[in-house]
């Protein structure tokens, strides 16, 4: 059943393989030309002509050379070289890469899908990164006051080593985290009767048994007790403004920093000051209810 098909393919193969070298050999024989005459005309060795006629692809040189020989051979035999080259091209199979005709230039425009999608991707990336940056900035800004409060309290803790640290409700609310963190460190030495004893006012008093103040070397502490509302501005020797706020009545504030301090107290009659645990009389500096003075200048 398969025989006719096989025969056909065999014939096709023989036709293909015999389409260049053998075809030229047949034409040469028909014209009565010898191999050596062809070799002399083509400036080739007779062996090379024989290889071409035998279609021996293994021993023949690479395609560009063979194509050149075939062109000369066909020209000598006065036959059309195109079918011969086509037949050789089918079997050599190595001439395809690179030998392209001049292509038309593909004219891409900015409306094409590739540049457009690239543009949108770049825009999206920029927008997302901007949003991410804004979000991180926002979170940092929100966390900042809390962190500052903790730092303030942690700085204030050495001051608890002094006789009494009155803590007002407002401060307790603000610095809850700080109190929770720091109190355990003082458990051994700090009594907290404030929670037990009923305070007549909202002022809670923390008593400590620590005798020596835990003042960090080179720093001093100012304790402010407000019986009336007052505005306060305290800057230390480095020029850093340690406390700038409107203090409520019946509250207190501990400020630690490097002396000397520049202190401004508004409505100073309602403020009692302790400097490193010792009461300080600020009345001489009072001028129309506002006190301006320097603390710790002698230190």
């Amino acid at each position: 059943m398969n025989r006719p098909v096989e025969q056909e393919s065999d014939m096709e193969q023989s036709a293909q393989s015999g389409a260049w070298g053998k075809r030229l050999a047949a034409i040469r024989e028909k014209n009565g030309v010898t191999v050596s005459a062809v070799a002399a005309e083509l400036r080739l060795e007779p062996k090379m002509v024989e290889l071409i006629e035998a279609e021996d692809l293994d021993q023949l040189p690479t395609a560009p050379f063979v194509k050149g020989y075939l062109r000369h051979y066909a020209r000598m035999m006065d036959v059309d070289v195109t079918p011969i080259l086509e037949a050789y091209g089918r079997v050599c199979g190595a001439d395809a890469p690179g030998l392209t005709k001049i292509n038309r230039l593909y004219e891409s425009t900015s409306k094409d899908a590739a540049p457009r999608s690239t543009t949108w991707i770049i825009v999206a990336v920029i927008v997302v990164s901007l949003a991410a940056w804004w979000w991180t900035q926002l979170i940092t800004f929100k966390n900042a006051p809390e962190e500052e409060a903790v730092v303030e309290l942690s700085e204030a803790v050495p001051a608890t080593a002094m006789d009494t640290v009155p803590v007002d409700n407002g401060a307790a609310v603000n610095g809850e985290a700080g109190v929770e963190l720091l109190l355990p460190q003082l458990q051994g030495s700090v009594e907290t009767p404030a929670a037990v004893s009923p305070a007549p006012e909202s002022v809670a008093v923390v008593k400590t048994e620590v005798a020596t103040p835990l003042v960090v070397a080179g720093t001093s502490t100012i304790t402010l007790k407000f019986t009336q509302e007052s505005w306060v501005d305290i800057a230390d020797a480095t020029g850093a403004r340690l406390f700038v706020d409107l203090a409520k009545s019946n509250s207190s504030q501990i400020v630690t920093g490097k002396p000397p301090f520049n202190v401004l107290l508004g409505n100073s009659e309602g403020v009692a000051i302790e400097y490193n645990g010792k009461p300080y009389d600020q009345r001489p500096h009072n001028s129309k209810g506002v006190s301006r003075f320097t603390l710790g200048a002698a230190d």
């Binding site: 050379f65 050149g68 190595a94 001439d95 900015s110």
Partner: protein, 349 residues
């Protein structure tokens, strides 16, 4: 630098055959995308010393050669294969690179491989490199023209076997013997298509007392030019200015006359080939004698040139397929080879 690299992602690697007559650009994966004459028309407004601007580049500019008004000069910025006018070459390259990347969103910044004549000096090579960098190239590689031509022609340059290539361009003819991806011998003679055109102009003036232009001479060369007497004699009718009468006259030229006219440049090429064969080491010489030499470049299209060289040298001479684009295609393949095996595959600069 980073931005240049980023732009490079949107650019194609290019191989440029910056020839005296034509500039060809090969783009990886696309083939030859540009084949235009290396001509730039420069407009100078407001008389000498006024501001200069580019009026046209390439094909459009070539049509202007010999037909320009006083304010426009059509310049061929390359002479004898090397840059004669640096600024204009840079502008021309810029125009061609942009044309290849036409309407892209980003200004292109491609890697560029440029083919240079093997006889060019370091200064000339540097000028070409700077020119390409000035035209926006990210990296510039230089490859010698015969090497690119041999790769483009499909010659086995990587084998330990001598291959001889003769690349006849517009300004120069390059001869090289190659083996193991390197050049064993190379020579460059400043004889090419332009010298053939000049020879035709001189012949016509001498024998017909008529002056013809470069464009006409080139047309005569393309249509009936031959290097070896053939069986058929072709004829062409040409118009030129008769020198004695001072008016245009038409006359007929035949291929044998052009063969006679071209004797001088052709003998220059033949003697260069002879010298190359003398200088080639004997083992490589025997390889060349067995397989033959390959002709590339526009000059290879001159009818009967292979026949002439066969007669003169006694070696097989083969014209490469599509000889005009061999150098550009070979450069493109060299770029691929650089990606595959690194820049040290060839003696690139």
């Amino acid at each position: 630098m980073v931005f240049k690299r980023f732009r490079g992602m949107f650019s194609n690697d290019l191989s440029i055959d910056l020839g005296t007559a034509n500039t060809l650009i090969y783009v990886r994966g696309q083939g030859i995308v540009l084949n235009e004459p290396s001509v730039v028309a420069v407009r100078q407004d407001r008389g000498p010393g006024g501001p200069k601007s580019i009026a046209a580049v390439g094909m459009e500019a070539k049509r202007m050669i010999g037909r320009t008004p006083g304010s426009i000069v059509a310049i061929r910025p390359l002479k004898d294969g090397v840059i004669a006018d640096f600024t204009v070459t840079e502008k021309m390259l810029q125009h061609f690179i942009r044309k290849v990347h036409e309407n892209r969103f980003f200004r292109p910044s491609p890697r560029v491989l440029i083919c240079v004549p093997c006889g060019s000096t370091q200064v000339e090579r540097r000028a070409i490199k700077e020119s390409a960098a000035g035209a926006g190239a990210r990296d510039v590689y230089l490859i010698e023209e015969p090497m690119a031509a041999a790769i483009g022609a499909g010659m086995p340059v990587g084998e330990a076997r001598g291959s001889m290539v003769l690349d006849i361009g517009g300004g120069t003819t390059e001869i090289a013997v190659l083996s193991l991806n390197g050049i064993v011998y190379s020579a460059s003679v400043r004889v090419g298509g332009d010298r053939m055109d000049e020879a035709i102009i001189n012949y016509v003036r001498r024998n017909y007392g008529t002056l013809i232009g470069e464009t006409t001479a080139e047309r005569i060369k393309h249509e009936i030019g031959s290097a070896f007497p053939g069986k058929e004699v072709h004829e062409i009718e040409v118009k030129g200015r008769n020198l004695s009468e001072g008016v245009p006259r038409s006359f007929t030229l035949n291929s044998n006359e052009i063969l006679e006219a071209l004797q001088e440049p052709l003998s220059g090429i033949v003697s260069a080939v002879r010298i190359a064969l003398e200088q080639t080491p004997p083992d490589l010489g025997s390889d060349i004698a067995e397989r033959g030499m390959v002709l590339t470049g526009g000059g290879a299209l001159l009818r009967g040139l292979d026949r002439l060289l066969m007669e003169e040298t006694g070696l097989p001479v083969i014209v490469a397929e599509d000889p005009l684009t061999c150098v550009a295609r070979g450069g493109g393949r060299a770029l691929e080879m650089i990606d595959e095996g690194g820049a040290e595959v060839f003696s690139l600069e």
